[in-house]
Amino acid sequence: MENNKESLDSLNNALRPLSNFEKPSEQSNADMISEALKILEMSVEGQKLFNLVGAEDLSIKLIYTSEDTTYLPSKKELYVSLSNKNRKDIPILMILIASLLKDYEQEKSGKLLANSTDPVEKHIKIAVEKQADKLASLCAIAYELDELKLYPEYSFLDVLKNLGHNEAVDIFINNV
């Protein structure tokens, strides 16, 4: 059977102790966020979200867990989490920051999650509406950036698909 050496090597790479040089620092995290924001700003839809950062004096923090996800625990604390395999992936970070800022924008405009005492149906209805609104924005940003061809080797729509939003991307493309 064919031996996929690169993949096997990366297995041990994942299990070795990281040197201090390889560990992310506050500065390297800030540089990554800044780079991702620069990309976000290049799309018209993204610029609206980008402007929130300065206008609302938001601080975005980059953390590392086992998932690529976002966390908005309060109005001023915004976290983006990258998984190990994507810890240096700026396009994924850009999409996650856009998602986070969209959450912030929704909260600011009063689109809040249901209260814990509300019926399940209300929770589902609000969650679906918020998610649809967010995905429409993310698809628009990814589409615009792909059209700009600033990164010819990269498809931001594919990044969205890789994050599990295949269906949303397909619906968006069919309606452009």
């Binding site: 059977m1 064919e2 031996n3 996929n4 993949s7 096997l8 990366s10 297995l11 041990n12 790479n13 994942a14 299990l15 070795r16 102790p17 990281l18 560990k23 923090k61 953390i63 590392y64 867990t65 086992s66 998932e67 996800t69 966390y71 908005l72 625990p73 309060s74 604390e77 976290y79 998984s83 190990n84 395999k85 810890r87 959450d103 999650l113 814990s116 969650a127 918020k130 998610q131």
Partner: protein, 209 residues
């Protein structure tokens, strides 16, 4: 893993301790559940799972802690190795598989999740595969075997790993301080797609070499 939910006052104590760190991630007391799990290979450190249920999606973070120091699980093995340096590690042939599973659950490679396959016959593991593929997996599967090499002060676990959508036979070497290296890797089968819940299987037996 056997998780135990902390009482309200105990979870608040954990959140207060975390809050005092400069790199603390915000968890509100009113919407965060704290679970704890004992780990047989550590005396003092336990695994804490913090879940904020008031965000969409729920946000989860795992920490290794002795009640005073907290080490956030960051998707690499490094945080575990850091704790191993501080702890008296109780690794033995009875818990070495639990330790390997623990490291694999918390360390992700460039090609995604890493699992040590315990039971290929498990229907959940097989359910996404065709009949021909199931046969192929069972034929290629190497059962788990454990050996303690006292001269070199390492444990050797021979078995079948899932990584990068492939099954790999390999020898996993674990030092007494818990550093893992995978040796003698041989690709057995490519294009295997593991269901999400595959890591929840429990290991029931390991044949000693």
């Amino acid at each position: 893993m056997k998780w135990k939910k902390l009482k309200r006052e105990d979870s608040h104590e954990v959140l207060d301790k975390l809050k005092s760190r400069s790199d603390a991630v915000v968890f509100s007391k009113s919407s965060t559940e704290v679970l704890v799990c004992n780990l047989s290979f550590y005396e003092e450190f336990k695994l804490y799972k913090l879940t904020n249920y008031m965000t969409l999606p729920c946000f989860v973070m795992y920490y290794l802690s002795n009640g005073t120091d907290f080490y956030a699980m960051d998707g690499t093995a490094s945080q575990i190795y850091k704790v191993n340096d501080l702890e008296f590690m109780n690794l033995n042939t009875d818990n070495i598989i639990q330790y390997v599973d623990f490291v694999f659950e918390n360390a992700e490679g460039d090609d995604g999740d890493i699992f040590l396959i315990h039971q290929p016959e498990n229907p959940n593991f097989m359910k996404s595969m065709s009949e021909a593929y199931r046969k192929n997996v069972i034929e290629h599967y190497h059962p788990i075997q454990i050996k303690e090499d006292e001269i070199n002060r390492v444990f050797l676990v021979h078995g079948t790993l899932y990584y990068g959508h492939s099954l790999i036979s390999a020898t996993i070497q674990i030092t007494k301080k818990g550093i893992i290296t995978v040796k003698n890797q041989k690709l057995l089968l490519k294009g295997v797609h593991m269901p999400n819940e595959a890591d929840q299987y429990s290991w029931i037996s390991g044949e000693k070499l």
